[in-house]
Subunit: 364 residues, 4 copies
């Protein structure tokens, strides 16, 4: 289960402090122009050490394309991508190999496998998400070129702090993916204080996809929203996923929630662009809850591998708010779901001819 | 994609107003005692017409076992279950065959397939969830007999109304799955008023599983929480899924969120029983957001299949709060995820011998 | 694993003497005209009791369509097909419930599952192949309408007897699927003698598909020939599968085996229409070896379920040459592989534009 | 579809003359001791350049373990293996980039993908089988340690030449995998003459597995024999697969073919160790037909990529009999099927308790 997707299949491998991480992308359509440079932008957006607010581990994250590309074009055969780990300081973690870090996968990996690689969290480290982003680059490229689809994500909340305005154009102009340019300095000050305190905060990430045509998604168990939920929930530290109105729908009335339709388009988008598990042609809207980092220099009670009580203090490099690096990862997972559903859709419904009029996307 | 699960695989079929609905359960362990009577309890809990607050369609929902059971025991071959549709009033829906009901899958099915069965919503009807519940009965039986696992769900919120106390024992003593016995009369009054108004409300369902051993779940893309998210999000009308603290984790600090461990067990359960995608041995905790029913007798703007504006009014039988029938469905989906992960776990890790002490479940 | 296919997925269920057999076809393209009558022809070709040379069990094999079809057209949702078992004489088999029939799955099912349905072979009965043929009808229809593909099979050998000529037009004009019309009376006499002797014979079935375009098949593990091999080997009683020259290739020289290409087409077809796992545009050619029936009235040594030696004599209805009913089953399996590969091909390569000339099919 | 297996999943990547080939093994049980040295033996057995009768391309084939192994033990996370290509002489192939080699995948890859990597056959090269052998090493290790299963293969026929005796002990004592030690010099002379002639020959490979317990295999479409057929047919140049008696079963009578059972074991093994798709506890027996190499220095008619007639002559390094390198590949594929079925069996049937006596393996 280190493979994601049914037709556009991504298999990732590698541990945080092992020799390398990598992935194999199988089922990729042929004829996509691909170059190692293509990965630089999104990997840079995800990278740690990008601001003073994220972990100071520096990985160059240079992607080597091992297969599946000939003279700069995808050939339809598996695309293998490799990144060597160069800045893996395993000694930082040696001390806690005999302990379980609360809030981490240390204990559960031990219970499952009877063995674990403790160096930097091994396979359960967020380092694995690098390859999701890399695979997402290929998916985004195809979605953009073939369907003009754009997938974007922003930090929509840190702790209790929400942006006053939602300006998608502002998001990429600051390293915090914050959608209100006026507040960036404020947020940076808040994060500085947080880091100084030794504690951490959770975050909410909003992800949207524009340009998704109506008709993608496979009822009943392969619903577009079900697969988005799995994709996003599979990211480290995620505790919740919403589509459209999400949990706000609980308190809404039917007359309020349902999105009226007119020849000019949908009147609202509380559904988040999905009805019955199938895209409606509106903007796709998801929200994701990231928990606060558990690895802190502030001590916490735990047990060691022999069952004795210990106090755990983490001194390695960690993010005070893991959500700050999450937007490119969320985008990647949404893009991977979309390309997979797109291929599945044309497999089954490639011959469908519509003689009925479509409804425009309408209001978002 | 009408199949759920990898090893314990459930394939459902059938439309709301077609001749029958059914499912095939493949990969079921042999030796489980099974009788048509086993399905009566949970199907009764899901059935419409159980209270005056749910749709008045009456289905007997008598399950016929067509295969896979010999002399009352599962044989390891596919178990086919069939329920004939007997109270399907298609004429109620004839009028709106040419229109799209806002908030429903009518439009998206048409866009995807170029054709749709409009009778009662066809395949997109909640009628399909009957077979999820039926398959869940088999899963629950195995989980209880083999692992003493109990899966339960309740209605934890209707609209803005939350129960004053969370008494799991009270849940099954009232037809609303409400966890505070003192409030049931109140809630019923609220629902009567709601039905009279012609409007509907959303609901929040909480699901728990007790007794899940540590070690179930497959990183990285088959994480237990990722599969729970997909399973629950695939239920009709669901807009959000949370594990443990869920979206509350956004506002929490790391020192607050991480669950300390002691030789006596976990000190809290904000993780919801899952760490790194693998069960920790604690209670599994999920929450699910159900949107309010969109089919109302209060009119809404829409378009017909030729793109002209129309006003849609639904006069058929509908639930003012679909969440009221959801607990057994949510339980079933969680049970299906658990049995599948249990089988996958023993496939890969069946030989793991632990010489390390386990941590008790601790506080919930 | 009672599901076949990746995108066009067929799940079968049912035991020989249970209440019913059936299947669910998921992933079927929408818009195919389907009627219960469509199944009559091929089910009739497979049916026992069609000649005096096959088992005298009479099944009407009337297919009920339970879902997935609306007003005579497939809707893209799962198509469930059901056939009630009406002539299941379980008493014939009661005596051998405590014994293992050599050459049958009795013993291995018991070892695997610890329990088995002994009535008529239960799930391991060839009765299951009825639903393969039914699902194949849908596949054949799409292949014919969408791609003008025709799949045909014949009996190419019974025991040591081979037809003097290979006349595909003759095959459907006699109930033995024999490709030489002049020999049919001869073969019938041979079969009468065989049945009288109480013994049985094996058979070789040839299957061809005309009209398959170049480009179908997924290297490396989803090769077209690999999937054909699995599909055909999964049929009861099959012991060998060949593509093109098959085992004759062992004794061939490279200069003899390789099929030369010219602008007018391939010069020969020893490859059987597949190169590197991908169709070449030539006729697809497979051969299948069916073993002789093991259930005979001539006694054989065996053991009972307590391990004691017994003599097994089978008095039920059985075919002296199971191969005589195999052609429609082989055709169905080939058709199921082809439609699945066709859908997978257009998923990945739907945008491929060829500016290079194709090579005509050429000689067969 | 570059992934093989359902629970023990092997994904391979890489082209013949690309930077590297590799694989990812997912779902591997934890706790298997693994070292790069473990791969040397089988990779050496498969390697070209091992005798003067195989292609003179020299690859060191040194395996780098990139992940999934910690302190010499498998951890249950994906095992990535990498081999750099060091002796890839692409210039040998430059001339035929514009032509299609008859008997090769050049034409079909072009038709499928619209683009192909012509260097050394790209992805369709037998170079890919290196990673099958590497993955097979891990499978064999687990099968041997956990179940004492031994998988072996030999060359059972070259052209029309068959060994006089079948001595499994002799097989590994000569580089031709020939089962009659007295004939090795003869065969070498035959191969020298063949190479000198510029032509090639097909071969038949026999594969056996001893120690497979009764009960492995998943009816109906995941039958052990069906999966073996797919696994073996997926190897480059294979045109036929037989289980047990194979095509000889066509000419056999039922009284001759069925294997009688006694308390002392089976009286024969024409079934090849599989009944109803499930292992019987007897020796597993398969045969595989390999076609003769198509790439020869003797000219053949073909077309170029513009459709014009050309004469193709191959001057690169090629095997006059590809079957000579096939035994380790066949063993690997059988081992991969067996470990996957073993894991699936214990997933579903891990709790089956047999109170019935088993039948010993008996005669082979």
């Amino acid at each position: 289960m280190n493979t994601f997707g049914q037709l556009f299949r991504v298999t990732t491998f590698g541990e945080s402090h092992g020799p390398a991480i990598g992935c194999v992308i199988d089922g990729c359509p042929p004829g996509i122009a691909l170059d190692p440079e293509d990965f630089r932008h999104d990997l840079g957006r995800r990278a740690s050490g990008r601001t003073r607010h994220t972990s100071q581990r520096h990985e160059d994250d240079v992607v080597e394309i091992l297969s599946g590309v000939f003279e700069g074009m995808s050939t339809g055969t598996p695309i293998a991508l490799l990144i060597r780990n160069v800045d893996a300081r395993s000694k930082d973690y040696a001390r806690i190999a005999g302990q379980y870090r609360p809030g981490h996968a240390d204990y559960t990996y031990s219970r499952k496998y009877g063995i674990r690689d403790p160096r930097g969290g091994g396979r359960s480290s967020a380092r694995e998400t690098t390859m999701r982003v890399a695979a997402g680059v290929v998916a985004k490229k195809w979605l953009a070129e073939r369907h003009r689809i754009v997938v974007r994500a922003c930090v929509a909340q840190i702790g209790t702090r929400k942006p006053a305005q939602m300006d998608w154009d502002a998001v990429e102009r600051n390293p915090l993916f914050w959608p209100d340019a006026n507040e960036v300095a404020d947020i940076e000050a808040m994060l500085d204080a947080l880091r100084k305190s030794g504690d951490s905060l959770g975050a909410r990430i909003d992800v949207i996809a524009d340009g998704v045509p109506a008709g993608w998604g496979e009822p009943v168990y392969g619903k577009l929203d079900a697969e988005l939920a799995a994709a996003l929930m599979s990211i480290n530290a995620v505790k919740g996923v919403e589509i459209g109105a999400g949990f706000d729908a609980v308190a809404q009335r039917g007359t309020e929630h349902r999105d009226a339709m007119t020849p000019q388009g949908f009147e609202s988008n509380r559904a988040g662009g999905i009805l019955g598990g199938i895209s409606s042609g509106q903007r796709l809207r998801c929200s994701v809850a990231f928990k606060p980092t558990s690895s802190l220099r502030l001590p916490v009670a735990s047990v060691d591998v022999e069952g004795h009580p210990v106090e755990v203090v983490t001194t390695g490099r960690h993010d005070p708010c893991v959500g700050l690096r999450a937007p490119p990862i969320c985008e990647a997972m949404v893009a991977l779901v979309l390309i997979d559903q797109a291929l599945r859709h044309r497999a089954q419904c490639g011959d469908v001819i519509h003689d009925i009029p479509g409804v425009p996307a309408g209001k978002e």
